[in-house]
Symmetry: D2
């Protein structure tokens, strides 16, 4: 399997390595007539930009997107939208040392096992920079969802042991702190924790949470193309993700049916669930309530704490990964999670359009 | 998206409802020359059979599989293998009542929202019986893995609050207790807990764990077709799954890099990891160590505790789901988890065969 | 690639060999709410039934279809429709001889080359009986098209050197002669020609033509998923097909632009083409005029004329394929061509539904 | 369906319009370790370059390819190869007039019907320039085939009424004349014919033929993924193609079985066919003999002969398409046909690798 395409309807194909000429994405299956310009994309890309705070890598990355195709007179034409970000700095020399050994926690070893060799400059295709294409595509998917009134909100839920608290939850705080946490107190504690990590040359994991409001019920297909199933796949396709939970998630495994079932009630807006333990799907299909899911991210593997490892030829050595690296990637992953969710939702929306004969005949009448 | 097919290489297409004429699966892409008979399939199906213990539904289901195609003189021919299990008992009358209202925690409401109406007999396509096709296909996938020396072990890790303990972990116990737990003490406690649930008309969730030994490194493709990504998708395609964790999973989000990184060492068997926090993949590609993942399952939504809900027309009512239902589906899900894992692995194996030009030319020489 | 599935939206998966237990198809992606019963399918299957005239094989095949899933109270539910035809007569003994050698013109040799061995009974998967699943699925696709007013007409255009003439073309004749020709004089001549073939133990090829009226413009996607491209694929997937022409087809290669271009005119029904050299597509997308294409079919390879061939071990011998075989399969292929066209069109219809943002927002408003 | 991707294993995704910023392709699924540089690609692109002779458009197109990803130290890495050709001249002003009306024979009308509007500059996505991406990808596919000893030869078989003759067939002539014909006499006659067309402002169709030597038997899958079926699809995906024939093609429809069957013989090189009416496949799977197929191409629709048409609002008018256009595109299509054939073959090669259990276990041993 080629492996660089995602989505059967709104299909994205990403390409590029961290230290090649550039990175990009081709978005195929975007409906015609959507207003779209480079500024729409740039806004999303800027959310994943490093160098904005002291917890992210101080490397200078000036990621400016170019749209090369698929737009005419400010609107999408229905044909593939190719987007490109050139890599400005390609200091391959920095990476010559890591060509020799396998960095713990990185994909160096597995790329060698699979392909016989690897582009060792900065992680190649498993670099975080691969997400540039996803986020550019996510910006388009989000514009489509916006037209249908569907709204995504994503944020850092926890960093290491520091979690936001329900009492201090304040959505307006997300962009008020450097860690994208909707809780200013937690953000402060997490900031202190990260300072500590950084001082000891260590790093931290964390959890991103995403909420989708004003959902349309009926999205997702039974069995293998459940909305939940594709969300799980898309989230686990993001490097460093190690867990995925929908609704109550892991807690549901410990609950009783009487606690976990959401009862239905009649409201002014029609039938609704009184609670949302399910996180917005039943049988894998959206139930009209908010979609809520959490994505667990492991600590950045690049640390300056000395670690044991081996070279390609099996020689053991102790290494310290040089350079200044993010002690945490969680805040930068927030927009990636949101982008992959938006892309997954747009696919579910389009897939659902031929679910009933009534819908089809109404469309073509 | 049709949604009933899974796998791009070894493709399975399941069909059938719990109360229709039967259920089945078409397996397309199975290599020719694999010895296969109905007994191979039946052994797997019997592992998901209900009625074997007091915690599973006492309904009589005698699921006998027929292979209709794709086998000649005891071997697979390379063409589609169609397998069929007839439904013996189709007592639709039992289900007339639930046609009127939406059972909490079930997919009744979402199927109505998506399709305009539903086959209300026993959950239709969202019934647990849909997994018959997956397990039949999983039996074939497991035979393929077996030929390559790859071994899967699956079991119940927890039921409600009762979890197996590392100290008492004993793989030989899995088939010695009715709950498929590799810890006889935990199994006894869980059994007591389930008795309590059943008495109060309630149900319990739990966690299934799967370990894959003797893995081949290099399986899974970068970016969207990561092995981890497809495992997440396949597990979340199983009804009632609400969480998925790989390796340390959620705990990795709370860890530091120095704790979570697995260092490489040289062993008599070549380069290996000294620990396995990653759960067997790096960059989404298998690293040769054991694959370890956990699947969280919500409590069975069918409970006899009175619950509030509404009818299709929005009338509120209180219901008690009748009939004897499983207070827990976790032990029966064990073989489903194992089957979906096996199918996912076989796809990754076949996908990997053209990863290098050397491999291709060696194959065709 | 598994290879037994066709269609990304309305997906069919066929299975079964001519001499196994049975043959069938799973149709996934059929919208909910379509009235459907076994009689709808049987009517189509009866059109491909042999033994109806002296030009088709006198073997008794009583192909009775069973619908096993996907229908509830007379309507499709949106879930997979599994259909099954049991093989009544499995006289494998008849085929023991051909296990030893490669029949000229058949797929015996290539199946051995690909899979190492083959199910030699009656052609296995390359038998004409494989089309049972396609025709059963085509019956459903045709019902969907019918609801949108789209009508397909298919017929035998030529048999060997005998072609229908434009002067005597009479659509009402298609079902009035045993060869499904819309020209009674040509049918008589072709009948005489086939008698001659049969007497000499020989067989004949021919051409099937299909016309689709009341087309919706805009179907098919640019580049690789052109409507024309998928028609070509679907037709060439039918065994024995050796040529495919759209509109003027091969003649267009000899024409000048001024002869081949269709000019646009304004009519009471809107903009239309004044001629239809293109056969109903421009740039691979339907242009609203009738779709017209022709499918060339080679002569049946099973002949009783003595032929030279070799055994699996390379021993040369002369063979006469025994048994009574069709001297022509063209009339029986008519319904197969129509079925594959209908399935292709339904896929194009569903694919087109998200082509514009206007269409999407209108659908979900 | 997005529609701009082709191939399930070696997948290409093309993008770009004739008058946008550029055009390109992402090739995903290319094995690692193939030597590849821009010069390899440029050689193929130069074969489709216009302006080389008086029969092709005199517009200046200097198509220089850049490889943006997927190559490291001169070898493919197994990750996506992104290739880009910038459009040098974007004189959109030239095209302002054709924005108003529908050019006969072009896709203007169908794009408007599908998408509501179109990028009217030079045909947008249905321009012949879209094939740049295919040819760039075809150069890579050809390098892979070359490593396995498979050789493709393509040429112009006919232009208008002028066809090459078997007696004068000389493969060394293909690159000796401007029309890529392997027959110098036919090339002269065709040249005269085209001069005549050009003088009258008209254009001509023609036929491209492709031969693949040293084929590996067993390529292609039964039923829907036949090698023949995918060749048909890939050829019909090329704009202006109206017919496709394999082996004897249309002539097979007129033949008798005794004439059309290829008998098997034993040779020093093993079992072979004594003739090749089938064109290299049996049951859609390669039989080891040469693959031979023909692709019929319609005359260029852009002619300066006055033609009637209508505007978008339905106003009738007479138009003469201005500018100097190719009176024939057939010679330039030769490399496109070869490229799509190569891509199709590489997909069949990779797909075939897991056809037998023996092959799989041998690979992973």
């Amino acid at each position: 399997m080629a492996g660089s395409s995602y989505g059967n309807f709104f299909q994205i194909t990403t390409w590029g390595e961290s230290h090649g000429k550039g990175l990009g994405v081709v978005v195929d299956g975007c409906p015609a007539g959507l207003s779209l310009c480079e500024e729409d994309i740039q806004k999303f890309l800027d959310r994943r930009k490093p160098g904005q705070n002291r917890f992210s890598t101080p490397r200078k990355e000036d990621d400016t997107v170019e749209i090369l195709s698929g737009i005419f007179e400010g609107k999408t034409t229905g044909t593939p939208i190719s987007m490109l970000v050139y890599n400005k700095t390609q200091r391959s020399a920095d990476y010559s040392e890591i060509a020799q050994y396998y960095r713990p926690g990185h994909a160096d070893y597995t790329f060698d096992m699979k392909y016989g060799f690897r582009d060792y400059r900065g992680g190649g295709r498993s670099s975080g920079r691969e997400t540039i294409g996803r986020v550019a595509a996510g910006a388009i998917a989000s514009k489509i969802l916006d037209q249908l009134g569907i709204r995504l909100t994503s944020y850092t839920r926890s960093i290491g042991p520091v979690e936001i608290s329900p009492e201090h939850f304040d959505i307006s705080q997300i962009n008020q702190n450097l860690l994208n946490m909707p809780d200013s107190q937690a953000a402060q504690k997490a900031s202190d924790y990260l300072d500590e990590c950084r001082k000891s040359g260590d790093s931290s994991g964390g959890v991103v949470e995403c909420i989708v409001e004003h959902m349309i019920p009926g999205l997702g297909d039974p069995v293998f193309e459940k909305l939940s199933s594709n969300l799980a796949k898309s989230m686990f396709s993001i490097g460093a993700v190690k867990s995925f939970e929908l609704g109550d998630g892991l807690a549901a495994s410990r609950a009783k049916g009487s606690e976990n079932n959401d009862t239905f009630v009649r409201t002014a807006d029609g039938i609704q669930k009184s609670t949302n333990h399910s996180g917005g799907t039943l049988g894998g299909i959206s139930d009209g309530s908010d979609l809520i899911f959490r994505v667990g991210i492991k600590p950045t593997p690049s640390i300056s704490v000395p670690q044991k490892t081996v070279t390609r030829s099996g020689e053991e050595l102790e290494v310290q990964v040089k350079g200044r690296h993010d002690p945490v990637i969680v805040p930068r992953a927030v927009v990636v999670v949101e982008s992959m969710a938006a892309i997954t939702l747009v696919n579910a929306l389009f897939s659902n359009m031929y679910s009933t004969m009534d819908g089809v005949t109404r469309f073509y009448r």
